[in-house]
Symmetry: C2
DNA sequence: AAAAATTTTTAGATTAACTTAAAAATATGT
DNA sequence: ACATATTTTTAAGTTAATCTAAAAATTTTT
């Protein structure tokens, strides 16, 4: 049984939605994620169900079967490994790689992924700090919190972003707030929920509520 | 105007056929190259003609327009660069890369190809000795001849293969007749058109007609 | 518990890419 | 030149993936 480019994208969308919400993916949530109509989703969802890649009950949303989840996590694995390749080897910046990886993740070759993984030194996280699942689909779990959740005096290295938009990534580059930078909360302003932080024990910086709510910092 | 994966493959097929025969590609030649029916080709050829990617006249075959040729050579450029990547960086052998490159050649990103080219050190030939066109579609031309065309006493380095099948490539690996190996014709047997050759000025080897007709050697 | 709002499904169409079978055009052999 | 063979095109139909509009089911509000 072979699976199309489009079917793969649906499975990945369903995985992401379920992961975010912890419940079955609704038709509307999928149509929104895929930029299609609800009718198209119903159509596709029936086909994926026939292929036993998802569990589907009318009006009840969908969840992935073991097989479906395996395909979804493998896609995410490929996507993130290719992003590492693009940044580490071809020197793209972290805001340029997602679109290209969206294409590369569909390349089918058992051996290519494993060779690429080895070539990259078996990375555990992608350029945005997102975990790269292993060949069995297991994600490395890391203790992390949004910067906005830290209390005054707490600190930790930046390990990821919640917002993956080009605008945010470029903003972080401008502020020199790349992954690995240490951030310590010096002061919290209740008025606008902004923070004054110490970066790399060197310089102080004022960060807006929006920025603080989109930066992951390692805990402990 | 965007162009599908399938349309790209048709353009590449037409380019290859025209290159081989020096005349317009016939419907049957295309259907053969693409593993489809003649009817499918006629269908597609009309669409490509509407997009001004080919010149087409009923019963007269097709040729590429400038635009069509540009797409075809760019595809070949990408295919061959990815093959170099797979062999040089991921250590695949030359008989394993074609299928993967068939997929990778369709990845669309202006910058990716140029970064890859640079990363690989601007190679002029792929792992099978085929020339890699530059960004403008120009191929490096090399003086070469089939081993079968050499006369007794003549010699040169192996620079390419005519037959690209896995079977032939693996046979050459077994014989240690990789690209760069020097071959000198010691004796020609009219009986079965085989040759006795000297490899790397070290060892003698008997090569069949079929092998000699599929190995390119640099001339002069 | 009805009414209203929202979500989801069904129905009917479209487009790309393909197929088979038959018709038309071109090429070949005597 | 004409019959035969081959190639190419047309006609008609299929499948995947999409759409819009309308109907049905579910959820929320009053
Ligand atoms: Mn990404
Ligand atoms: Mn990422
Ligand atoms: Mn190839
Ligand atoms: Mn090649």
């Amino acid at each position: 049984m072979d699976i199309s480019h489009t079917e793969e994208n649906y499975l990945k969308a369903i995985f992401k939605i379920s992961e975010r919400n912890g419940k079955p993916a609704s038709t509307n949530a999928i149509s929104n994620e895929m930029n299609t109509t609800a009718a198209s989703v119903t159509d596709m969802v029936k086909r994926l169900s026939d292929k036993t890649l998802i569990h589907y009950e009318r009006y009840r949303g969908v969840t992935l079967t073991g097989q479906g989840e395996q395909i979804a996590t493998h896609l995410i694995r490929k996507h993130r490994l290719w992003e590492v390749f693009l940044v580490d080897k071809l020197h793209f910046s972290w805001d340029e790689v997602h679109e290209i990886a969206e294409q590369l993740e569909h390349i089918k070759s058992k051996r290519l992924v494993e060779r690429l993984d080895e070539y990259l030194g078996f990375p555990k996280f992608d350029p945005h700090g997102d975990p790269i699942p292993d060949a069995d689909g297991n994600f490395t779990i890391r203790k992390q919190a949004l910067l906005s959740e830290l209390k005054t005096g707490e600190q930790g290295p930046v390990v990821g972003v919640h917002d993956h938009t080009t605008a945010f990534l470029q903003y972080l580059d401008r502020m020199e707030l790349v992954l690995g930078t240490t951030v310590k909360v010096l002061e919290y302003f209740e008025y606008d929920e902004s923070m004054r932080v110490l970066i790399n024990n060197e310089r102080e910086q004022l960060l807006s509520k929006k920025v603080c709510q989109n930066l992951f910092v390692q805990k402990q």
